[in-house]
C-alpha cells in the first residue's frame, strides 16, 4: 500500500485546495495587485505603484479607524471575556455542591439559553434593534424611560466621545453568549475532583475561580482572545447600520472596513480601497501572530 499513499492523499486534497486557491488565495493576490493601481471599477486599471499607500499616510479617517481598532482590540476582548467568564462560572460551578458535585446557580439552564439568544440573530437585525434601544428621543427604549423620569435623554450615538462606546456595548452584548457557551464547555472538561479537593482545603468560590478554573481554561481563553481580536478588526456591520452618517459623527465610530466600503462602493476608488484592505490584512495577521506567541505558556495536562 505504501506507494499508493500519495495519489490517495492528493486525490483527497485536490478539490479543497483548488477551491481554496480560486476563492481565497487568488482574490488575496488580486487585492494586492489592485492596491497598486488607480482602478475605479470600470475600465482597465493603471499601475501607480505605492501611491495609494503614500496617500493612506495623510488620510485622517484611515488613522481614526486605526485608533478605533486599537480601542476595540483592548476593550472588546477584555470586557467580553470578563463577563463571559463570570457568567460561565456562575452557570457551571457557581452554585451549591450536591453530593460532592458543583452545580450552577439556580435556573442556570434557563440563563444558558437566554445568553445565547443574541448569537442566533443576524448582525444586521441586532444593529436595527439597537437603533431602537439607542434612539435619542422619547421613542427610544432607554431614553423613553429616562425622559418619563424627567431626565435628559442620553445621546448615545451622537456624542462623539460616547458613540464608540455605545457601539462597543453592542459588540459585547452580541458576543458574550457565544463565549459563555465556549467557556462552559471548557469548564465542563475540568475534572470535578480538582474542585472537590480544593474545596476540602477550604477554598472559597473566588479562590476556586482564580486558582482552579482560570489556569485550566487558559487554552480556551487564548482562542477567545484571538477570535475577539479579529472581530474587533471587523465591526463593519454594526457600525454601518447603527452609527450616525456611516461611521460618524465626523468619523467618531468609523472602522477600516467602513472606510474600505466607502472608498470602494461610494467613491469607486477600488485601488485605494484595496490598499486599505491590504493594510487591514497585515494588521490582522500581525495581531493573530502576536497573540498566539505572547500568550503561549505551558498548558496543564489533566
Amino acid at each position: 500500500m505504501r506507494h499508493g499513499k500519495y495519489p490517495f492523499v492528493i486525490g483527497f486534497l485536490f478539490v479543497p485546495v483548488t477551491l481554496y486557491v480560486v476563492f481565497v488565495i487568488a482574490p488575496y493576490a488580486q487585492a494586492f495587485q489592485i492596491s497598486m493601481t488607480n482602478w475605479r471599477g470600470l475600465s482597465a486599471p493603471q499601475w501607480v505603484g505605492f501611491e495609494n499607500y503614500r496617500r493612506l499616510l495623510d488620510d485622517g479617517n484611515f488613522w481614526k479607524a486605526i485608533q478605533h481598532h486599537a480601542v476595540l482590540l483592548l476593550a472588546l476582548p477584555l470586557i467580553t471575556i470578563a463577563i463571559a467568564l463570570f457568567f460561565a462560572f456562575l452557570l457551571n460551578v457557581g452554585g451549591r455542591s450536591v453530593g460532592g458535585q458543583r452545580q450552577g446557580v439556580w435556573g442556570s439552564k434557563f440563563y444558558r439559553v437566554v445568553f445565547f439568544f443574541p448569537q442566533v440573530l443576524a448582525v444586521a437585525i441586532i444593529a436595527v434593534l439597537f437603533q431602537m434601544v439607542y434612539r435619542p428621543n422619547e421613542s427610544g427604549l432607554i431614553n423613553g424611560v429616562l425622559m418619563k423620569l424627567g431626565l435628559d435623554p442620553v445621546l448615545f450615538l451622537i456624542k462623539p466621545n460616547l458613540a464608540l462606546w455605545s457601539i462597543l456595548a453592542v459588540l459585547v452584548w452580541q458576543a458574550v453568549g457565544f463565549y459563555v457557551v465556549l467557556f462552559s464547555a471548557g469548564m465542563a472538561s475540568i475534572p470535578t475532583e480538582i474542585y472537590e479537593a480544593a474545596e476540602m482545603d477550604g477554598a472559597t468560590r473566588v479562590t476556586l475561580f482564580f486558582r482552579v478554573t482560570l489556569p485550566l481554561l487558559w487554552d480556551t481563553l487564548q482562542v477567545a482572545w484571538v477570535y475577539l481580536g479579529i472581530a474587533a478588526f471587523d465591526a463593519f456591520a454594526i457600525v454601518a447600520v447603527l452609527s450616525v452618517d456611516g461611521g460618524g459623527p465626523d468619523g467618531a465610530t468609523t472602522v477600516l472596513a467602513m472606510e474600505i466600503y466607502r472608498n470602494a462602493f461610494v467613491y469607486s476608488k477600488y485601488g485605494y480601497a484595496s490598499a486599505m484592505g491590504v493594510a487591514l490584512f497585515f494588521l490582522t495577521i500581525t495581531f493573530a501572530a502576536l497573540t498566539l506567541r505572547l500568550s503561549k505558556r505551558e498548558s496543564v495536562e489533566y
Binding site: 481565497v24 487568488a26 482574490p27 488575496y28 488580486q30 487585492a31 489592485i34 493601481t37 488607480n38 482602478w39 475605479r40 471599477g41 470600470l42 475600465s43 482597465a44 486599471p45 501607480v48 443576524a122 448582525v123 434612539r135 435619542p136 428621543n137 435623554p153 445621546l155 450615538l157 451622537i158 462623539p160 477570535y227 479579529i230 472581530a231 478588526f233 471587523d234 463593519f236 456591520a237 454601518a240 447600520v241 450616525v244 452618517d245 456611516g246 460618524g248 459623527p249 465626523d250 472596513a257 474600505i260 466600503y261 466607502r262 470602494a264 462602493f265 461610494v266 467613491y267 469607486s268 476608488k269 477600488y270 484592505g277 491590504v278 487591514l280 490584512f281 490582522t284 495577521i285 493573530a288
Partner: protein, 481 residues
C-alpha cells in the same frame, strides 16, 4: 439626486464581509467582489442598426431586446412597468423589454460594467448611484446628441431637445477625457428644493411663510413657544438636505456664481463670504431652533415627526409629498417656501429657488443595444410618457407638455407655483453628482456645524481642504460648467 437616502449598506455584502473577516479575510472580501473583474470586459457584440423611418428615427433594430434598470426609491418602479415600458412595447412590439428594479444601483451594476455586459438603460439614482464621473471617464455612457436631435414622439415637427425645460440638456453634459463636451445624462424629473411646512398647521395658528430672515427667526420663536420644534433635518443619513439649504442661501446672498465656483473647484470657493454668512446664519438656527436628537434620526423619522405636528419646517425636494403619502394625515397640505432672504442686500430676490432635473438616466454605450436605450428615452420624453409618469408618482417631469392641465397635489402645486414665481432666478449645483467625496465631506461638516461642534469658518475651511485635495487628485475626472 438621491431620492431616498437609504443607509449605505447592502445586507448580503455586509454578511459576507463579516464572515470573511471572522476568519481573517476582510481584506480580499472587498477584492473578492472585484475578482477577475479587472481582467475581463471583452467588448460585447452590439446589434446592428435598423432602418430609420418616421416612427423609428433613431434606426433601432426592431426585434432587439433592451434591459431597463430602475432605482426603486421615492418614485418606485411602477412608472416604468406601467407606463414607459408598455409605450416602448407598443412602438416596437417585436422587441422585448427586460425590467429590473433595485435599491442599490451600484451594487447590482458595477460588476456588470466591469464584466463588459452592461444593461442598455439605467436609472442611476439613490444613495448608491454609480459615479457619473467614473462612467464618463471610462467611455461607458452613450452620447445622447442623436436623441436630443431626433423628432419628438408627440410633435414630430419639434426636436426632443425643444420639448424639455431649458437647461436640462446642459445639465446632463459632461466633459470627456479628450476635451469635448457631450450630453450623456437625461435628468427627467423636475425637482424644486425648498423648506416645507404644513399648510394646515400654519393656517390654524395664523402663521404665514416668512420671506425675510427677521420674519423667519421671529416665527421660529413663536413656534418654539408653542412647544413645536421649529426647524430640523435628519443628521443620521440626510445631512445633504441641509447643505443644500446652506448653499441655496449662499447663492441668494452672492448670486449663482457662488455655486458655479464651488462646482468648478475654484480656489477658495467654499470660503467665499456668501458661504460663510449662510453657514453662520444656519448654525444659529441649528443651535436655537432645532433639536439635538435629530442628528441621530433618519429622514423617515424626522419626516414623520413633521407629519405628527411636532416639527414645523423641514428642508427637502418636492418628492417629499409623494414619499410621505402614507403617513401624511388628511388635510396636512404640504407647502413649499423658498429659503428666506438673509439681508436686504442679497443679490437674488426672496423668490429665487433651486430647481433642477432630478433622477439621472443614462444609456450604456457598451451595451448590446444602445440605440434601443435611446429610443426608450425618446418614449419617456413623449407627452404620453411624461403624463403617465406625472399621474403615477404625482411629480412634474422636464417635459412641460406632460403636466399641461394636470391637477397636482397641494405640495407639488406649491412648488410649481414657486418655480413660476422665481422666473429667471433659478439655479442649481452639481458638485455632489460630480465628486461624491465632496458630498460626503459636506454632509459631515454640515452635521458638525448645525449641531454646534464647529463654527462657520471651520465649516468652510474643512470642506475647502477636501475640495483642494480632490482638485489635486489626478485619478478623479474633473468637470466644469
Amino acid at each position: 439626486m438621491s431620492i431616498t437616502p437609504e443607509h449605505p449598506t447592502a445586507l448580503d455584502r455586509r454578511t459576507v464581509l463579516r464572515r470573511a473577516a471572522a476568519v481573517g479575510l476582510a481584506v480580499p472580501a472587498a477584492g473578492l467582489l472585484g475578482a477577475c473583474a479587472t481582467s475581463g470586459g471583452e467588448e460585447t457584440e452590439q446589434v446592428s442598426g435598423g432602418t430609420k423611418s418616421a416612427t423609428n428615427p433613431l434606426g433601432i433594430k426592431e426585434d432587439a431586446p433592451i434591459e431597463v434598470i430602475i432605482f426603486n426609491g421615492g418614485y418606485g418602479e411602477k412608472y416604468a412597468t406601467d407606463v414607459h415600458e408598455p409605450l416602448y412595447k407598443k412602438a416596437f412590439p417585436k422587441s422585448e423589454v427586460k425590467h429590473q428594479a433595485t435599491q442599490a444601483v451600484s451594487t447590482v451594476l458595477q460588476p456588470r460594467f466591469a464584466g463588459g455586459n452592461p444593461p442598455e438603460f439605467v436609472n442611476n439614482s439613490g444613495e448608491k448611484f454609480l459615479d457619473f464621473g467614473a462612467l464618463v471617464n471610462d467611455g461607458q455612457l452613450q452620447d445622447l446628441t442623436e436623441l436630443w436631435d431626433a423628432p419628438s414622439v408627440h410633435d414630430p415637427s419639434k426636436k426632443v431637445r425643444d420639448t424639455v425645460i431649458p437647461g436640462i440638456v446642459e445639465q446632463g453634459m459632461f466633459d470627456t477625457a479628450d476635451g469635448q463636451r457631450k450630453p450623456y445624462v437625461l435628468y427627467y424629473v423636475s425637482t424644486v428644493y425648498g423648506i416645507w411646512y404644513s399648510g394646515k398647521l400654519f393656517k390654524d395658528n395664523g402663521w404665514t411663510a416668512p420671506t425675510t430672515w427677521e420674519q423667519f427667526t421671529a416665527l421660529c420663536e413663536q413656534i418654539k413657544a408653542k412647544g413645536i420644534t421649529p426647524y430640523g433635518y435628519a443628521g443620521a443619513n440626510a445631512a445633504y438636505y441641509q447643505w443644500n439649504v446652506i448653499l441655496t442661501q449662499a447663492a441668494k446672498i452672492g448670486g449663482p456664481d457662488v455655486l458655479k465656483n464651488i462646482d468648478n473647484l475654484e480656489d477658495g470657493a467654499w470660503q467665499q463670504d456668501a458661504v460663510k454668512q449662510a453657514a453662520a446664519a444656519w448654525a444659529e438656527i441649528g443651535a436655537k431652533y432645532s433639536d439635538k436628537s435629530f442628528e441621530g434620526l433618519k429622514h423617515t423619522d424626522v419626516q414623520l415627526r413633521q407629519n405628527q405636528g411636532k416639527l414645523a419646517f423641514y428642508p427637502s425636494g418636492d418628492w417629499l409629498e409623494n414619499e410621505q403619502k402614507k403617513d401624511t394625515p388628511a388635510g396636512f397640505t404640504y407647502q413649499l417656501m423658498p429659503v428666506p432672504s438673509l439681508t436686504a442686500s442679497d443679490k437674488l430676490p426672496a423668490t429665487a429657488i433651486r430647481a433642477a432635473g432630478g433622477e439621472g438616466y443614462f444609456v450604456s454605450s457598451k451595451s448590446k443595444n444602445p440605440r434601443g436605450g435611446m429610443e426608450y428615452m425618446r418614449q419617456m420624453l413623449s407627452q404620453e410618457g411624461a403624463r403617465g409618469f406625472t399621474e403615477t408618482v404625482g411629480a412634474a417631469t422636464v417635459v412641460p407638455a406632460g403636466s399641461d392641465g394636470y391637477q397636482f397635489p397641494p405640495g407639488v402645486a406649491s412648488s410649481q407655483a414657486a418655480l413660476k414665481a422665481a422666473g429667471a432666478n433659478v439655479f442649481n449645483m452639481l458638485f455632489d453628482n460630480w465628486y461624491k467625496e465632496l458630498d460626503t465631506e459636506a454632509r459631515t461638516a454640515t452635521n458638525e456645524l448645525m449641531f454646534g461642534r464647529i463654527n462657520a469658518d471651520a465649516f468652510a475651511e474643512r470642506i475647502q481642504k477636501r475640495a483642494d485635495a480632490i482638485k489635486k487628485d489626478t485619478s478623479v475626472t474633473k468637470f466644469k460648467r
